[in-house]
C-alpha cells in the first residue's frame, strides 16, 4: 500500500525521516516533484488567460467547470514548495538563517509587485489622457486617484492600494512573511499547526476578520482565510501527504470526490447556460450563493481538495509523460513561478491594451492568448538556461547550491 505515499512524497520519505527532526518528514533532496512544477505552470497559464478578456481559451480554464480556480492551485503549491525548500533550510541551518532567507524572498516578491504597479500607472495614465468617451464618463471616475498621486503611491507601497488583477502577489507576500512561524510550529507539531490554521480560518468567517484596503473595502484575497490553503500545502509537504495516503487511496474518497466535482460542474453549468437555471432549487441557491472568493469559501476549498485528490491518484509521480517535451514548457514555467507570474500579469495588461487599440475580434483575441503563453514559455526557458549555466560556474568555484534556485516559494 505504499504506492500512493510514494507518489506524493517521493520514494525516500523514510530515509529522510531518519535524518530529520522527529515531527516532520522531508522527501529526499535533489529529486524534483515534476507534478508540482507541472501544475504550478498550468496555474500560471490559466491565471494569465483568466486575466485577459474572455475568449475561446477562457473556456479551457478550470473555473468554468467548478468552484475553485487557478489561484487555489497556485497558493497550495506555493505553500508546498516553500515549506519543502525553507523547511529543509530550517532543519539544516536553524530558524534564524531560514527566516533570513525567507525574508529575502519576500523582498523579491515585493519588488516584483512594485514593478508591476509602475506599469499599471503608466497604462492608466495613458488611458486617462487619451480616452474620453461620453458613454463612459462615469467609469472615468477611476482616474480620480491620479489627482492624488502621493497618497496613491504610498498606499500602493503599503500594499493597501491594489489595481485589478494585482491581488495575488500581496497575498503571497503576507503568507511568506508568516512562513517562518508556520514552519516553526510545523516542526513542533504539524497536526496542531494545521489545526490552528483551520481555527484561524473559522475565526475569520465567524468574526469577519479582514485587512483593509485603500481607498475602501478589503483585500480581495483575505490572507486570514487563504492561509489555510498555504498552510495545508506546507503540511502536505512536511509529511502530511504521506500520513493521508490511506485516505487518498481509498475508493470511497475517490467516489466522493467525483460526485462533488460532478455536482460542482452542474452548478457552474447553470451560470453559463442561464436557460438551465430552473433546474436549481431556490433553497440550494440561497444557501450556496454567493461563493466567496475573498474568504476562500468552503465550497471552493473542498473543490480544490477533490481535484487534488483525484489528480494525485491518477497522475503518478513516475508517469513518463512528465519527461515528455510537450509538457516541458509548462514545467519550466512552474519552476520559475515568480518571474513567470509577473510576466503573465504584464502580458495580460499588454493584451488588454492591444485589444482596445486594435479591434480585431475573436481571432486576434486567440492570437494574443497564444502569443502570451509562448512568451511565458520562452522566458521560462531562458531563465532556466541561464540558471543552469550559472549553477555550473558556481559549482566550479565550489559555491554552495542555492535552495531558491530550486524554485523555492
Amino acid at each position: 500500500m505504499s504506492s500512493i505515499a510514494d507518489q506524493i512524497a517521493g520514494p525516500s520519505a523514510s530515509d529522510a525521516a531518519a535524518t530529520s527532526a522527529p515531527a516532520i518528514t522531508l522527501p529526499a533532496a535533489g529529486e524534483r516533484e515534476l507534478r508540482l512544477d507541472l501544475f504550478r505552470g498550468l496555474a500560471l497559464w490559466l491565471i494569465f488567460i483568466d486575466h485577459l478578456p474572455p475568449n475561446i481559451l477562457t473556456w479551457f480554464t478550470i473555473r468554468n467547470y467548478g468552484f475553485s480556480d487557478a489561484t487555489e492551485i497556485f497558493i497550495f503549491i506555493s505553500g508546498y514548495t516553500a515549506a519543502f525548500v525553507y523547511g529543509r533550510a530550517m532543519l539544516e541551518s536553524g530558524f534564524v538563517i531560514a527566516t533570513a532567507r525567507i525574508m529575502r524572498r519576500v523582498w523579491q516578491i515585493y519588488v516584483a509587485h512594485v514593478f508591476l504597479f509602475t506599469i499599471f500607472l503608466a497604462e492608466i495614465s495613458y488611458v486617462a489622457t487619451n480616452f474620453n468617451n461620453p458613454l463612459y464618463s462615469e467609469e472615468m471616475g477611476i482616474m480620480d486617484f491620479l489627482k492624488q498621486p502621493d497618497v496613491t503611491i504610498i498606499q500602493a507601497l503599503l500594499l493597501r492600494f491594489r489595481p485589478v488583477n494585482m491581488d495575488v502577489l500581496p497575498l503571497y507576500i503576507v503568507l511568506m512573511l508568516f512562513l517562518p512561524v508556520i514552519l516553526w510550529l510545523m516542526k513542533w507539531r504539524p497536526d496542531v499547526s494545521l489545526g490552528l490554521s483551520v481555527a484561524l480560518y473559522a475565526a475569520t468567517w465567524q468574526f469577519d476578520l479582514y485587512l483593509s484596503a485603500y481607498p475602501n473595502g478589503t483585500w480581495f484575497f483575505n490572507p486570514f482565510a487563504w492561509q489555510l490553503l498555504f498552510t495545508f500545502g506546507a503540511w502536505c509537504a512536511l509529511g502530511g501527504a504521506v500520513r493521508m495516503s490511506a485516505i487518498l487511496s481509498s475508493p470511497i474518497t475517490m467516489w466522493i470526490c467525483f460526485a462533488y466535482l460532478l455536482a460542482a460542474f452542474f452548478v457552474t453549468l447553470t451560470w453559463h447556460l442561464p436557460q438551465l437555471n430552473f433546474l436549481m432549487p431556490k433553497r440550494l441557491e440561497q444557501w450556496m450563493y454567493p461563493i466567496s472568493k475573498t474568504d476562500l469559501d468552503v465550497l471552493r476549498f473542498a473543490h480544490f481538495l477533490a481535484l487534488a485528490a483525484i489528480t494525485v491518484r491518477f497522475l503518478r509521480k513516475d508517469w513518463p509523460g512528465l519527461k515528455s517535451p510537450w509538457l516541458r514548457p509548462l514545467i519550466l514555467c512552474g519552476q520559475h513561478s515568480l518571474e513567470i507570474f509577473c510576466l503573465g500579469v504584464f502580458l495580460a495588461f499588454a493584451g488588454h491594451f492591444v485589444l482596445a487599440e486594435i479591434s480585431g475580434g475573436a481571432g486576434l483575441h486567440f492570437l494574443i492568448s497564444v502569443v502570451g503563453i509562448l512568451i511565458m514559455s520562452g522566458m521560462a526557458w531562458v531563465i532556466s538556461w541561464y540558471k543552469n549555466s550559472a549553477d555550473k560556474n558556481a559549482k566550479k568555484k565550489g559555491a554552495v547550491g542555492n535552495a531558491d534556485m530550486a524554485g523555492g516559494g
Binding site: N133, P215, G217, W319, S359
Partner: protein, 252 residues
Amino acid sequence: MKSNPVMILGLTLIAGLLAVAPVRAEEAPANCEVPAYLLTSESKLPKVETAIAGDRRLEILVVGSRSSSIPSSEASAYPGRLQAMLKEALPKVAVNVSVELQVKKTAEEVAGGLVKLVELKKPTLVIWQTGTYDAIRSIDPDDFRAGVEDGVAALQKAGVDVILMNLQYSPRTETMISAPPYLDNMRVVAQQHDIPLFDRFAMMRHWSDAGDFDLSSTSHGPDLAKRVHDCLGRALSKFVIDAAHVNPAQQN
C-alpha cells in the same frame, strides 16, 4: 483504474468545445440584437401588469448614476428611449419615465433615499441602476450587497415593482475597475428578492463581441453613446413588457 491522463485531457477538450458551441451560435450580425435569455426573467412585475391592463397608466422611475445619462443630450439616454419605445409598443397606455440621477453615491447611500423618491414620484416601477460607483471606489462587496438589499427591500415594502440594472461593460477600464464581484452580488440580490435583473453588462459585452459597437473607441463625440443607449432602451422596453406578461398586440 489505471491512470489515463490522455483520456481525461480528451474529455476536457470535448467538454470545452461543447461549452463553446452554444455561445458561438448566439452571435448575430444584426446591429444590436440581444440573446433571448437576456430579455426574459423568471421574476414578474405584477404591479406593472395591472397598471398597464387596468389603469392604462405606467409611471416608471429610473434611479441611476451618471451612466444612466449622456452628458448634454439627456433625451437620447436610455430612460428617454425607454419611454419612446414603450409608448410605441403600448399606444393606449400613458407611459411616463422620469430619472433621478444619484451621482457619486454608493448603493448604500442611494438606498437610504429611495423611499422618499417613491413617495414623491409615486411610480409603479423603479428601475435601479447601480454598482458602478461602488466598483470604482472598490466598496466591500458585502457592504454593497447589503446596500442593494436594503434598497430593494425598502422599495418592495413601499409597494412598487423593482428592476435592478447592473454595470456597463467597459473594455478600456477592465484592468482598472473590477466589475465581477458587483455583478455577482446584484444577481444574488435579484434572486433572493425575486425581482428581474436587467443584465446591461452582458448585453453590452455581447454587442462588443459581435462587432456591433467598438466600445474601446477613443472618439470624443456623443454618437456612440447615443447608439448604445438607444439599443439599451429598446432592450429594456422588451424586458419590461416580457416581465409584466403583457402582450402588446392585445393592448392595441
